[in-house]
Symmetry: C2
Subunit: 327 residues, 2 copies
């Protein structure tokens, strides 16, 4: 099933079920009003939503309405956890090479992962606000999963069983604030402002055969100011699947229902696939011996991120955001 959250003036919005083709929606209020509520009580509530989803897709629900992505908040407008791994090695390799650093030998056993802020997650059409365009404003196209409860020390395969939903994200980064924060060793904080999410969260079964061993065989499309920037296979370059990322967190603690675990920037080693973020393109320019000629985003710039299945259908709907100065 596909789920979305409409803006209704509240902090958590109003839950709705959306058709597979993203054309129609129906409020889930008879079952639950908020997505976190469903995640808290998944075994009881999700079958009821599945039932509603089935009837909605069959055109048998009386009060269906046209689905409007512009009315969406993030599927979880706030979450109790957002951790983000770095599962695409080519992303790491390019960025570290540009900084003159090597990728650690044990990166697949001990992936880089940071704890992100989750009190304020942006909707797919929300403007992204920054005080200063000189901060190095960059998008990052990512996939993410929402988990149920995960026990201490859960292994990769069992962790996959805890995947409730898949998401498409834009993990905004302020590149010029990164070096200072990395040097402090405490991780990203100011350099990772609010993350945005595509309109719809989907259960893994919606992907059919494209959900393969914890990877999503989808094409992630990234356009910057209407120009093609990346067409990335989200499975082929993913060195660590989502179960491995969850296991990394669960090594010393349990995860509670509604935790969002991100893949890091989707990346492919083949240069003609393009890029999921500007920093990778700049890193290649630097590595080619020149200077980074591609600038970061300016106020007024737009980014569009969408993921398509093999048939070309949009799975999550599109993220379409504009960069703006603080209001």
């Amino acid at each position: 099933m596909k789920l979305a959250t409409y803006r209704d003036g509240s902090r958590d919005g109003q839950l709705l079920v959306v058709t597979r083709d993203l054309s129609q929606g129906h409020f889930a209020a008879g079952v639950a009003t908020r997505l976190q509520q469903v995640l808290d009580d998944w075994n009881y509530l999700s079958p009821q939503l599945e039932e509603l989803s089935l009837r909605l897709n069959q055109g048998k629900v009386r009060h269906a309405f046209a689905f409007e992505p512009a009315r969406c908040m993030a599927p979880l407008p706030r979450a109790f956890q957002w951790v983000d791994g770095s599962a695409y090695v080519s992303h790491m390799e390019r960025l570290r090479r540009a900084r003159g650093e090597a990728v650690p030998a044990d990166v697949l056993d001990d992936p880089p992962m940071y704890q992100g802020g989750s009190d304020d997650l942006l909707g797919p059409r929300d403007d992204a606000h920054f005080a200063d365009a000189a901060w190095g404003i960059d998008f990052e196209a990512e996939l993410a999963v929402v988990t149920g409860d995960v026990a201490f020390g859960t292994g990769p395969e069992a962790a996959l069983d805890a995947v409730r939903l898949l998401l498409l994200a834009n993990d905004w980064s302020l590149r010029h604030l990164v070096p200072t924060e990395l040097a402090k060793h405490f991780g990203f904080l100011q350099s990772k402002p609010a993350t945005a999410f595509a309109p719809v969260a989907v259960t893994p079964d919606e992907l059919g055969a494209a959900w393969q061993g914890g990877r999503a065989a989808l094409t992630v499309e990234v356009d910057w100011n209407g120009r093609r920037f990346g067409r990335l296979n989200a499975a082929s370059g993913m060195s660590l699947h989502f179960g491995r990322l969850i296991t990394h967190v669960a090594r010393t603690r349990r995860l509670r229902a509604g935790s969002i675990v991100g893949s890091g920037t989707v990346s492919q080693p083949e240069d003609d696939a393009g890029f999921g973020c500007i920093a990778e393109k700049r890193a290649l320019e630097l590595a080619a011996g020149g200077e980074a000629t591609t600038g970061y985003m300016a106020f007024g710039d737009r980014v569009r991120i969408e993921a398509r299945d093999a048939a070309g259908a949009s799975v999550f709907g599109a993220i379409e955001q504009q960069v703006q100065p603080w209001p």
Copy 2:
């Protein structure tokens, strides 16, 4: 007023109002059932809780009951944000000196701060579970504030106006996992498992004159296995007040209601005050030219953390936790 959350089988527990002397409680259900709900709608709901608190403290509420800290979850059993600064410079100085590093010159302008996990916050009497005592299990006595909504770029004084509640925390650390994570530059993740909180959250006015310019003039008592380990003045060594810590987060993003902002380990430069964590004592042993003779915690060990006002009264109730292997 003083607020607590009783375990009731739900993820968010049941909100209650507690008397100033921590002897009596009363469910807040007529006003709100969960603390996050109050934070979401503070201006409307908190006056109603204040009214209940006043009557409870006057002994005028009919269904008051004896307050039992053992029934408490964390005041916020899960939160949408937990960020933790390092506001006590002597804590930083001792740990960095032991690692052979200097404290950065700009540490007061750009404090170290990490984003923590907040999906699973422990109650004051919950056992702390770890797989391996060789991970270097350490407590960290800290103060924290819970904020309301904070706008982008809010300054230190305005940030103090957004402080809704004060908390006392035990920020568990796995010291031997820290060096690997610091070397990865992405911050703490596995080395910072679930944080625990004292039974009661208090509004700043409960501290009276002890709430001074964003610092709490309380004595934080730390006992390890029943032996005195620290008696720390929480105001004198706090180089950056809570408004400054909030401002650091708000530089690039807003904070949403219910964000918890921690002080870092409470520390005093005077050695006879003792310590808020074991790592500081070990650092002094190392700095004295010897080896660190004090070990970290073993399974079965207990830690007790409590904060007292000038009259000796317990402000938040006590954290009393035992270290246990995974169940």
